[in-house]
Amino acid sequence: MEIRPIVSTILRNKTGAILVALQVALSLAILANTLHIVSERRAAAARPSGIADEMAVVKIDVSHLSSDGPEQQLATMKREAELLRAVPGVAAVAQVNQMPMTQSGWNNSVAIDRKQTEESSPSSSYFSPDSLVKAWGLKIVEGRDFLPGEAQDIDINKKDEPRVVILSQALARKLWPDQSPIGKTMYFGTGEGAIEVRVVGMVERLQSHGAEVSARGELSAIAPVRLYGSNQSYTFTIRAEPGQRDRVLRDAEAVLRKASATPVILESRTVERIRKSRYRADMALSWMLVTVSVLLLLITASGIVGMASLWVTQRRKQIGVRRALGARKIDILRYFLLENFLITSSGVAGGVLLGVGLNQLLVSKLEMARLPLDYLVAGSVLLWALGVLAVYGPAWRAASISPALATRST
């Protein structure tokens, strides 16, 4: 079948064709960009935090209303940790200053040389006198976990400093790109006041408290330190035996309440919930974009159906004549499919350009990521398929027009 008569038909009545092509182009441009954003957000929300089996881990913030002195507070912390360990179903307990993904915690700058004025990297600082490797199931890839003798209790009102750290792999690689970090010296802060520490281990992954999407989200350091002496709340993180999380959490709260002579305020959250609220906005945006994409496809399809139906109605007589002159049903069907394919293709071509342009705008104004070509290709295929599907109905109706129509006068 020749394309020329189809092209000349389109050219003779451009408006409809342009409208359809424009719709296809707009849909493709928006679709490719939204799909890209959706998959990016979903990928970010699915990143592992470093905590193995998050479903089993919880945290409890404890704040006592009594105004105990620092030494009394330290004793209470230690006693509470022991009480929690004794709760049935508890696999591990650690006191910790912050949790991954909670978006509140401590940032420090780190350096590899005392003479530096600029930081080598930012780092999210975890402090725990207990083994986070055990409590969170962090994976040591080099070096070792802290030894029991390395844990320190530091009164925040006194000058006392950590001596050893474990780094996340991302931070270690950033500081020493091609060397093993084990045994190296690192500094918290820069200049004279910087705290010197020795690296004893490297874990595969531990996300920062912010869990940023940028590289920063993977830069963390752990020091074996229990901080006390402030009137701020402190946090325990508990790993429960499989399937017992909720009961363990209830029991743990009850134990802490019972053990305190003065009123105590407990705030508990599961890591599952922490993750959910960290990525709530991303998920909401991605659902909104998915909804818009579906509506987009529906509307484009309805536009194609509408326009094709109009053409079929307008050309009833011509179709009858062609059929009377010997064209088969399949020829008529093919004519409409091919015509639509040509229009869709020009729309797709425009859409690719428009999509790249829209992405440029998003990159420059809203600092979004650059659109990989895959999404444009996938979007084009989708719209081609949609075009064929949408036009099939009207084209089939056209093919069913009886040749006898040609013999009638109107």
């Binding site: 719709q23 402030s230 709530r280 484009t300």
Partner: protein, 436 residues
């Protein structure tokens, strides 16, 4: 005649129900998407205190060390050090001034049936309440003497007050805050500026109501821990007292001036203050002091998230698609009525009359689409508002947006109708009549 055309338009809606429904639905979906995203943008970027937003000013100093500093780089400080906040409070600049930081103290009622809880709030000075126009249900702000000596007085939010003391006035009642006995001196009414411009650093921007206010001096005396961000470029001495003496920034400061012309004088004063501090060995970078009014500050803190702008842009792209679709559908609808146009033209109607008739018809479709779109937008906003308190605070339609929705939908339909209408009015009566 326009009324008659309007009537004709309404009747024509019924003539081809499937096509009409499709058009109305397309327009409605496009309008709903753009209106709901725009409503959120509108609510987010609104002026929370329109009559004085130009007279409320935030000062910022660059207190970071000069080592490794490239001159001209803007500072990333967002708050003040305790030293500067205290100096500015004493400065006498502006008509009023306040310094504040976020707290979340434990509150323990004397009634034993309610357990202790933490109440997020702020620790400001007395002027805070008049500067930001906090309404009072009972009592009044604490006195200047309370500010000076750091008295144990508290102002409660309405919800907390009702929870602890029921509906009556709790002024003069006692509660324990951070383990210390406090006297309630007032109850703030439902005060929820959106965004929460007076304290943007380190907390949610929308849908926040303070549950407790205590004097800044009291919070500092009791070493109430911060509920919000702190930025330290140099290592502080240990403990709360160390933080007070340090170059860590953690307090939000506000000036109120009598007129917006006083801003320049205030800026000059701040620069001379910074120069003075430089002589004392602080603020070594030598960058000028910065001053922001409410709207500039909201912009500076990026309160309107990029995701919201992204949604709005894509929604308008979507509306554009819906418009193109409507153009096509209108073209189809009008093209089958060529003979009708031919007869009207032959009977003496001018092109302009035909144009009017068909444009009115498009507007009728726009109205129908707008109505349905408004319903859909309300539904979408309700869905968005269900996410959390922050979303609920901004997913609300106001009168401006309501009017805008109608304008947008009718304008959209008329715009979509222009080309098909023009085509319809170009019908030559002779040809139409001949082919009958």
């Amino acid at each position: 005649m326009l009324g008659y055309y309007f009537h004709l338009g309404l009747r024509s809606l019924r003539r081809n129900p499937a096509l009409t429904a499709l058009m109305v639905l397309t327009l409605a979906v496009g309008v709903a998407a753009s209106v709901s995203t725009l409503t959120i943008l509108h609510m987010m970027s609104g002026d929370p205190i329109p009559h004085k937003s130009e007279r409320l000013l935030v000062p910022i100093f660059d207190v970071q060390p000069a080592e490794g500093y490239v001159p001209g780089t803007p500072s990333d400080e967002q708050q003040l050090t305790y030293i500067d906040a205290m100096n500015l409070l004493k400065s006498g600049q502006g008509t009023r001034r306040t310094a504040l930081y976020g707290i979340a103290p434990s509150v323990e009622p004397l009634r034993k049936d309610i357990g202790a809880f933490t109440a997020p709030g702020v620790a400001p000075t007395r002027d805070f309440f008049s500067m930001f126009e906090v309404p009072f249900l009972h009592g009044q702000p604490w006195s200047e003497a309370d500010d000076a000596r750091g008295a144990n007085v508290a102002i409660l939010g309405r919800k907390v007050a009702e929870k602890l003391f029921g509906a009556g006035s709790p002024v003069g009642q006692r509660i324990n805050v951070m383990g210390q006995p406090f006297t309630v001196v007032g109850v703030a009414g439902d005060w929820e500026p959106n965004p929460r411009y007076y304290k943007l650093v380190g907390s949610d921007y929308f849908g926040v109501r303070e549950e407790i206010f205590i004097p800044l001096a009291t919070a500092v005396r009791l070493e109430a821990s911060r509920n919000g961000g702190m930025s330290c470029s140099q290592r502080a001495e240990p403990g709360f007292q160390g933080i007070l003496r340090s170059e860590c920034t953690w307090l939000q400061f506000w000036f109120e001036t009598a007129s917006k012309d006083e801003r320049r004088a205030l800026k000059d004063w701040l620069d001379s203050y910074a120069a003075e501090q430089r002589k004392l060995g602080r603020m070594k970078r030598g960058s000028p002091a910065e001053l922001y009014d409410v709207m500039e500050w909201i912009e500076h803190e990026n309160v309107v998230g990029k995701d919201n702008k992204l949604s709005a842009w894509l929604a308008f792209g979507f509306l554009a698609l819906c418009l193109v679709n409507t153009v096509g559908l209108l073209l189809a609808k009008f093209s089958v009525r060529a003979s009708e146009v031919g007869i009207r033209r032959a009977l003496g109607a001018s092109r302009r009359e035909i144009f009017r008739q068909f444009l009115t018809e498009s507007a009728v479709i726009g109205l129908a689409g707008g109505l349905l779109g408004l319903l859909l937008a309300f539904g979408a906003l309700a869905l968005i508002g269900m996410q959390n308190g922050e979303a609920a605070a901004v997913a609300r339609m106001d009168l401006t947006m309501l009017a805008f929705t109608f304008l947008l939908s009718v304008l959209a339909a008329v715009l979509a109708g222009l080309f098909p209408t023009w085509r319809a009015s170009q019908v030559t009566p002779a040809i139409q009549l001949k082919s009958q």
